[in-house]
């Protein structure tokens, strides 16, 4: 409900009357929010919303900026637009998103860009940046798109990945890349590898160069030059058997 796709065409009084769920009861939005401003597809939310779920769910355009924390399912299933959160976020950020951009400046929960239980594919495109740490199963079954974590992730990062890229700037706990089929996980810190990944070679892929340029726009550094170091490439997961790769940065 809290999404520019719903609100862009509405007047302020119509927005106040929008029905939201408080537990099982339906109440108008104005019970919880003051609404002001001009009609637009830019939505700015202030407040501690860590129990508010599904912000920006299935949004297709415009932008949401949140000053405060948000709850679960931020930007789940979104198809376009952008979300920026100055604070922490809950689980399932950008779950099954098709496109769009999400930037969380604080920490996030698990299942970022993941597939919901039972579904075969997670995020299909778009980009998710989390400056802080993240929880379990980041990028589970993602098909395309990019996830960048500033802090450390917990277990099962890139579980059953089918494509796309996950960049771990502070590493992850165990079972990274378990059962991955395709796709790339880049870690700037040493990782504890699954036994079913085999060391392949050292190299400096040209795509790292491309990524580095793109990430620079968001103020993120990705090393790529031979002078700085090299990537150790591990192939797996052999149990699938998959054609995924994990690249671990080795500074020179």
């Amino acid at each position: 409900m809290l999404s520019p796709t719903v609100m862009a065409e509405l007047s302020n009084s119509e927005i106040r009357a929008l029905v939201v769920y408080h537990g099982k009861r339906q109440v108008p939005l104005e019970e919880f929010f003051d609404v002001d401003g001009e009609r637009s597809d830019e939505l700015i939310i202030h407040g501690e919303l860590n129990k508010v779920r599904l912000i920006g769910r299935a949004m297709s355009k415009g932008s949401i900026t949140v000053h405060g924390t948000v709850g679960m399912h931020l930007g789940a299933c979104m198809t376009g637009g952008s979300i920026e959160v100055h604070g922490d976020a809950g689980d399932w950020i950008g779950a099954e998103m098709k496109n769009g951009f999400i930037h969380v400046h604080g920490n996030a929960g698990g299942q970022i860009g993941a597939a919901y239980r039972g579904a075969l594919a997670g995020m299909k495109n778009g980009m998710i940046i989390v400056d802080g740490a993240a929880g379990l199963e980041v990028g589970m079954r993602m098909r395309r798109g990019t996830i960048i974590l500033g802090g450390a992730a917990k277990d099962f990062t890139g579980l059953q990945m089918k494509g796309g890229t996950i960049i771990l700037r502070s590493g992850a706990e165990i079972r990274t890349g378990a059962w991955m089929n395709r796709g790339t996980i880049i870690s700037l810190q040493p990782l504890q590898m699954m036994p079913t990944f085999a060391y392949a070679n050292d190299f400096n892929p040209t795509f790292a160069n491309v990524y580095a340029k793109q990430l620079k726009q968001h103020g993120i550094d990705l090393p790529f030059a031979v002078s700085q170091g090299t990537y150790q490439r591990y192939a797996g997961d052999l149990s699938v058997p998959g054609k995924g790769e994990i690249l671990v940065w080795q500074p020179a």
Partner: protein
């Protein structure tokens, strides 16, 4: 990939217990269903069957096993994943194998036996499903069993714990489509374990009342969840005094299922068994209590205003 226990009794010539201690936790499992039974297809009983035990320490069940594999704690998922690779003839390094506490020879032998058996069966216990990785550990074993069917017949089955857990699971599925972790707050069932599962809801303090039947979360759940149960009105139906009943606002003593109350229990392989009470109890059955509560609630005005909701929505949002 599963089957009923009778299939195991009749046909399974290769049985693996993973992370369970049947000798002590499910004492009748060996004799009644699995390794000790003779059958038309396995006339020599125990001699015709191979039993493997995988666990982190040598429990009493290890004595009954032909092969005991001691896996390093927390390495079950890794070991199963290695097996998945080995059955497909993928090369896994010796050093990687040794991380799990195994050697290449043991695993090659195990894979060889798994592929050459006629009917294999995995049983997995809490040692697998409740350690780090949780549902993914069980998923790993189920996947391995499914993949083994490219070579021979293989099934996997959880060793369910106390009470009629399977029964609850089965009924929830036919009424709501989901086994657990369900919310009805929008008037129809929605599912997301981790979001709507009991323990998560309690830990986050999302619910404002609790109704507990035939379970004792007060003994098993993490402290924040127990604290929340104490804060909110908690109603507990139980024949006994339990940790939960002590912290509950209301405790209704009911007749014990199977002993004094009739019903149906679902065995761990989802086979329904009738419960035929042997005793009479002065207390009402759970079913009767719930029915009477339901009747009382039906007298109250409905929480959704009439006509505020469509009967059916054609697609969920």
């Amino acid at each position: 990939m599963t089957c009923t226990l009778g299939e195991v009794k009749q046909r399974a010539d290769f049985i693996v217990y993973w992370g369970g201690n049947p000798a002590e936790c499910h004492p009748r499992h060996f004799t009644k269903y699995t390794i000790m039974q003779k059958s038309k297809f396995l006339p020599r009983g125990r001699k015709d069957r191979t039993m493997v035990l995988v666990d982190i320490r040598e429990t009493k069940s290890a004595k009954a096993a032909d092969i005991f594999l001691q896996v390093k704690p927390g390495k079950d998922f890794e070991l199963i994943t290695i097996l998945r690779a080995l059955i497909k003839d993928q090369h896994v390094g010796d050093e990687q194998i040794s991380q799990t506490g195994m050697t290449r020879e043991t695993l090659d032998d195990l894979v060889q036996r798994m592929k050459s058996c006629k009917f294999g069966c995995f049983f997995f216990g809490m040692g697998l499903s409740m350690t780090r990785g949780k549902h993914m550990n069980s998923a790993a074993l189920l996947t391995l069993a499914a993949e083994m069917n490219a070579f021979t017949k293989f099934v996997a089955m959880p060793m369910r714990g106390h009470g009629n857990v399977t029964g609850a699971d089965v009924v929830m599925r036919w009424q709501t489509g989901y086994p657990f972790g369900i919310t009805f707050n929008r008037g129809y069932p929605r599912y997301n374990p981790g979001e709507f599962s009991t323990v998560d809801v309690l830990v986050r303090g999302d619910c404002d009342a609790a109704f507990i039947i035939g379970a004792d979360p007060g003994a098993t759940m993490p402290q924040p969840a127990i604290d929340h149960l104490k804060r909110i009105p908690t109603i507990c139906l139980d024949p006994h005094i339990t940790h939960t009943s002590k912290l509950a606002r209301v405790h209704i003593t009911t007749a014990a299922q199977g002993i004094a109350a009739p019903g149906t229990a679902y065995r761990m392989d989802e086979i329904p068994l009738p419960l035929k009470p042997a005793l009479k109890s002065p207390y009402p059955t759970d079913e009767e209590v719930v029915r009477r509560i339901n009747e009382a609630i039906a007298q109250k005005p409905f929480w959704l205003p009439e006509g505020s909701q469509p009967q059916m929505i054609s697609a969920q949002v």
